[in-house]
């Protein structure tokens, strides 16, 4: 296969460049608007839905007056958003830690061990992965209640430790690893445990990074679980459940809130970008 060169390459690059700008614009605009003053944003957001044939929204990209008012409001004046943010961070951290301990070993067992029922098990995990959240929502509440976890952060955190999607993702990567890796290590007398820690985990770094990033994005965005499992604990809600409410109230600081909301995801992305690009290899289902 030949690479495209010359003028056609330039043309394609320009088109892709435009598309990239379009894809990034929502984030860029959020950050730009977050530096507008609160009164300006309130006035601007109020005009939504009131335009008729004769008028256009004044869609300026740069704020009229650069102001840190919105940030001051959410970080200093009223720390509600900040608390929600801290809650979100706590959920993300706890979920990721648990997943790191549970999911890779399971994927390892499913890819590099041969035992009866392995394929059935894997197939079951795929089915669970495809299941909508609502299917298990109601019985799950009952399970969590009998475990005494309802209305604690663990009701949200613990079920996420076993999220089938990440098992699938990592297992698919491990299946692709050459068998010689293990055999060589075994030659040196390493047991399964030390093979897992010394050989498998290091070579799986890309997929682990990718899975961590994807899982972070999911944890950062939890909506249904906290709303269903933490109904009486509004103080434990993460930013994701409360954000929409904050945003629709025309508070004037919705963009700074959104920027704050986006920022960690952005950092995680930048950090794990290479891993995602190289790690996600969904080989054939077998």
């Amino acid at each position: 296969m030949r690479n495209v060169k010359g003028f056609r390459l330039r043309l394609i690059q320009v088109c892709l460049g435009l598309l990239a700008v379009l894809l990034l614009l929502p984030m860029a605009q959020t950050f730009l608007y977050s530096f507008s003053s609160m009164t300006e944003m309130q006035a601007f957001m109020k005009t939504r839905g009131s335009y008729d044939e004769t008028r256009w929204m004044e869609a300026h990209l740069i704020p009229n007056l650069v102001s840190l008012g919105q940030y001051h409001q959410i970080l200093i004046a009223d720390n509600t958003v900040l608390w929600l943010f801290i809650n979100s961070a706590m959920y993300a951290a706890l979920i990721l830690l648990g997943q790191a301990a549970i999911i890779p070993p399971l994927a390892f067992a499913l890819s590099k061990f041969r035992f009866p029922g392995r394929n059935g098990l894997f197939f079951g995990i795929i089915l669970l992965m495809l299941l909508p959240f609502q299917v298990t929502m109601v019985p799950n509440v009952l399970t969590l209640r009998s475990l005494g976890l309802i209305d604690t952060i663990w009701a949200v955190v613990i079920p996420m430790w076993f999220a089938p999607f990440y098992i699938f993702l990592i297992r698919q990567y491990m299946v692709g690893l050459p068998g010689e890796l293990i055999e060589a290590a075994e030659m040196d007398g390493a047991g399964a445990m030390s093979v897992y820690f010394r050989v498998i985990l290091p070579v799986c770094r890309p997929i682990l990074g990718a899975a961590a990033a994807l899982s972070f994005a999911e944890s950062w965005n939890l909506v249904e679980q906290p709303l269903t499992y933490l109904t009486t604990r509004m103080d434990l809600q993460p930013l994701s459940t409360m954000f929409n409410q904050l945003a629709t109230e025309n508070t004037g600081f919705e963009f700074a809130g959104a920027a704050l909301y986006i920022l960690p995801a952005l950092f995680v992305y930048l950090f794990f970008q290479e891993d995602i690009l190289s790690g996600i290899q969904l080989t054939e289902l077998k």
């Binding site: 839905g49 009223d78 509600t80 608390w83 109601v138 509440v141 009952l142 209640r145 309802i150 269903t228 109904t231 009486t232 604990r233 509004m234 103080d235 409360m242 904050l246 629709t248």
Partner: protein, 782 residues
């Protein structure tokens, strides 16, 4: 034989002894098991008409001093050792304070003046009052204050005497109201050492703290943001609770150094699960007491994390205060009563039931006191109101924390709970079955499910259009003219300008705006439509025509102002005939209320053939099916059913028709007669302008003549009118409006609604929006 007889005697004696012991044990058992909790005073009689309120309370030694206001102010002293209350009459003192001629009341310049009690406080074992003095100068009403007097109680009389304390600088407490001065209302007080701390509301609505030095009389005003409550704290500091409003409100607890004006926060608390109120502090044990969600909590070491519930609060109203006694009892008091509560959790009753009200009814408190009197060993926690949807989650979680829920019959939550049968079965409780079986069929139906009793009705109310009976007759309108359909009502409104011209009546009360009347009419009409035509679309031409008619009805010529005009019209209230009696009222309660006026609610229909209705909602109490204390919960429900507030009792029971007087009916008449006598006396002495007094005398005489006729808590006419309309009452099983407003689309609906009332949106747009949403809801089913 003899021997046997002796044995028999002995047996008999033994049995007698056994019986005696058993009897003694039975008698003593409640005393042994006693929690020490006591009701000192119950001021609220539950019918919404109280004659006495607890205005202030102080504790000195083993005595509780209560200052009662109401129709007969007095002072009560409760002895905690004997449990006896002595009442001290205030009439003489009041006369003394009111006597403009009295030398001690006069100002320094010798102006005649009257005195008022502005606040009470306790200091070094004595009770003191702070007085203000009112006098008039150059036609302006003036006030000065800060006079401290010591309380003297003797021979059933209370008196105030001069004392060694200096006059307090009251200038900061006085407010200039233009041509008159007034003293701020003191809401709470605490004495720490020689400092008296008083709180009152400032102009900005914020609570202010005023500190008085009792030795020098000097004062200082302190601005403490979000001040909510305060109590004497450790080391001569003030323990302060501040309530921070925000999306996630929280309480801040601080130790406030009064000398340095510095607060040192020691705890913060998210208000989500019930606000902390009424803090109290015990220095010997460094324990903080507070009330949250109907329970008393103790936090040793002022550590909120380790706060433990020690007793129930026993007073349902939110405005409570909690001084401590020396032996560790908490005195909980609000306007409705005073309770002594033990703070030792070991002494607490074995069972505690929890009640969570989402809707209010007058009868709660009555039942509450009655129950705690009869079931002393069962604690009752009345929780704060909260978000209804939490109830659904609680049911799903099979939550057994709350035993009784109280909800409005039209809330969607009640609908869901009822539909799914998440209500404890009460059919086994004969008393309850009996009580509910005597109610109107509509109440019985709302309370039953599949032939089982599942709830107890506690209240009934609604909103409807009504007319004033007297005005109706005076305007020459007859029974025939009473509108039965919406069209007829609108027809009537169109003829009103003509009918009302030159009469003493106006169409609606002055303060109703055009937008308000249109909106309210439309709401009631659409609500009725949803109830009467559940399967029909809102976009039916007939309804659309009616909606347009309401939108177009000429309210201008009826002398109703728009919201905009009202701003300027208000100042011309009298000139514009604002005091005229209104013929129509737009939101009268078709239920039964005390103080009922001469109004007739209008059952409405859409066509002449259709049965007209008056929608009402009912307050329902039901048992959590997961409750761990079903027997106690049912006993409590029995108590609720037995102690309905007066109006509800009459509203639910057809056979109750005896009219009811105000409890102080005789006193009221007597005071009127006394007044008449004084007036006549002064007329005879001829001191004042006689013509002026004569009209007053005539007015009093006229009122006295009809006094027995017109002064009713529930008048025969009101009861009769209610019985007449009872056949039209329909309990609503869903609230159309909360459904339309209640979710993410609520914003869109309220914009549309406002747009329609302003004429920017058509009835078609409005109705089709409602149609879509309501239809979706109905199609989804339950």
């Amino acid at each position: 034989m003899k021997h046997e007889n002796r044995t028999g005697n002995r047996l008999f004696f033994l049995m007698l002894c056994g019986l005696m012991t058993a009897w003694l044990v039975c008698c003593a058992a409640p005393a042994l098991a006693s929690t020490g909790d006591r009701t000192v005073l119950q001021a609220d009689n539950g019918d919404g008409y109280s004659t006495a309120y607890v205005q202030d309370l102080m504790v000195e030694g083993r005595k509780i001093y209560l200052y009662m206001t109401g129709s007969v102010p007095n002072f009560r002293v409760y002895d905690m050792d004997t449990g006896e209350t002595t009442v001290y009459d205030m009439t003489a003192l009041q006369e003394k304070l009111r006597d403009t001629e009295a030398e001690e009341n006069r100002t320094e310049d010798g102006d005649p003046a009257t005195m008022d009690i502005a606040a009470w406080f306790d200091w070094n074992g004595e009770i003191y009052a702070i007085l203000t003095r009112s006098y008039s100068r150059n036609g302006f009403s003036q006030m000065e204050g800060g006079f401290v007097r010591r309380l003297v109680l003797s021979d059933g009389q209370m008196d105030l005497e001069a004392c060694e304390l200096p006059r307090l600088d009251w200038s900061e407490m006085l407010e200039d109201g233009g041509d008159w001065t007034y003293s701020r209302y003191v809401s709470d007080h605490a004495t720490v050492g020689d400092t008296l701390a008083l709180s009152c509301f400032g102009d900005n609505g914020e609570m202010q703290l005023h500190l008085f030095n009792l030795q020098t009389g000097e004062t200082e005003e302190r601005e403490i943001q979000d001040l909510n409550d305060f109590t004497p704290g450790p080391d001569g500091k003030l323990l302060i609770a501040r309530y921070k409003w925000s999306d996630t409100p929280e309480m801040l607890l601080e130790l406030y150094d009064m000398e340095r004006d510095e607060g040192e926060p020691f705890a913060r608390y998210a208000v989500e699960s019930g606000s902390i109120r009424a803090v109290a502090y015990r220095e010997e044990t460094d324990t903080l007491y507070f009330i949250r969600n109907g329970e008393i909590f103790a936090a040793p070491g002022r550590d909120l994390e380790n706060a433990q519930s020690v007793n129930d609060c026993a007073i349902a109203s939110s405005g409570v205060f909690t001084p401590l006694t020396e032996d560790g009892f908490l005195i909980v008091y609000g306007y409705e009563g005073v309770m002594l509560r033990n703070t030792d959790p070991a002494a607490r009753g074995s069972t505690t039931i929890r009640i969570r009200p989402y809707s209010w009814s007058e009868g709660y408190n009555l039942a509450y006191y009655a129950f705690t009197e009869s079931h002393g060993d069962i604690g009752v926690v009345q929780e704060d109101y909260g978000d209804e949807t939490a109830l659904l989650q609680a049911m799903m979680n099979q939550d057994d924390r709350v035993d009784i829920y109280i909800l409005s019959s039209d809330s969607s939550v009640y609908g869901a709970v009822y539909e799914r049968g998440f209500m404890g079965d009460l059919s086994g409780d004969e008393k309850l079955v009996e009580a509910v079986s005597q109610m109107y069929p509509m109440a019985r139906e709302t309370a039953s499910r599949d032939g089982k009793l599942v709830a107890v009705p506690l209240g009934l109310s609604g909103e409807s259009v009504a007319y004033n009976q007297k005005a109706w007759e005076d305007l020459g309108l007859t029974e025939e003219d009473v509108p039965r359909t919406w069209d007829q009502l609108l027809d009537l409104m169109e003829t009103l300008p003509e009918k009302l011209a030159g009469t003493a009546y106006r169409a609606f009360d002055f303060y109703y705006t055009q937008e308000g009347i249109r909106g309210e009419l439309l709401m009631q009409m659409l609500r009725n439509y949803a109830l009467q035509h559940p399967d029909e679309s809102f976009s039916e031409p007939a309804l659309q025509r009616l909606t347009d008619r309401v939108a177009r009805i000429d309210l201008e010529t009826l002398g109703i102002f728009t919201e905009e005009e009202m701003e300027t019209a208000e100042s011309r209230y009298e000139e514009l005939g604002g005091m005229k009696t209104a013929l129509l009222s737009i939101n009268s309660n078709p239920g039964l209320t005390i103080y009922d006026q001469d109004t007739q609610c209008l059952p409405m229909a859409f066509t002449a053939e259709e049965q007209p209705i008056l929608p009402v909602t009912m307050v329902m109490a039901f048992m959590n099916p997961f409750s761990r204390h079903p027997a106690e919960a049912m006993a409590y429900l029995e108590c609720l059913a037995e102690h309905l507030d007066l109006a509800t009792e009459y509203a639910l029971h057809e056979e109750l028709n005896e009219p009811v007087r105000y409890p102080d009916h005789e006193e009221q008449r007597k005071s009127m007669e006394d007044w008449l006598a004084t007036m006549k006396e002064s007329m005879a002495s001829g001191e004042d302008a006689p013509s002026n007094i004569r009209t007053i005398v005539e007015e009093i005489e006229k009122e006295l003549k009809d006094f027995d006729e017109t002064h009713w808590m529930l008048s025969p006419a009101a009861i009769r009118a209610y019985r007449d309309r009872a056949a039209y009452l329909v309990p609503a099983r869903f609230s159309f409006w909360s459904q339309l407003y209640g979710d993410e689309n609520g914003e869109a609906f309220s914009t549309l609604w406002a747009g329609f009332l302003k004429g920017q949106k058509t009835s078609g747009e409005l109705l089709s929006f409602m149609d879509q949403k309501i239809r979706m809801m109905r199609l989804e089913g339950n």
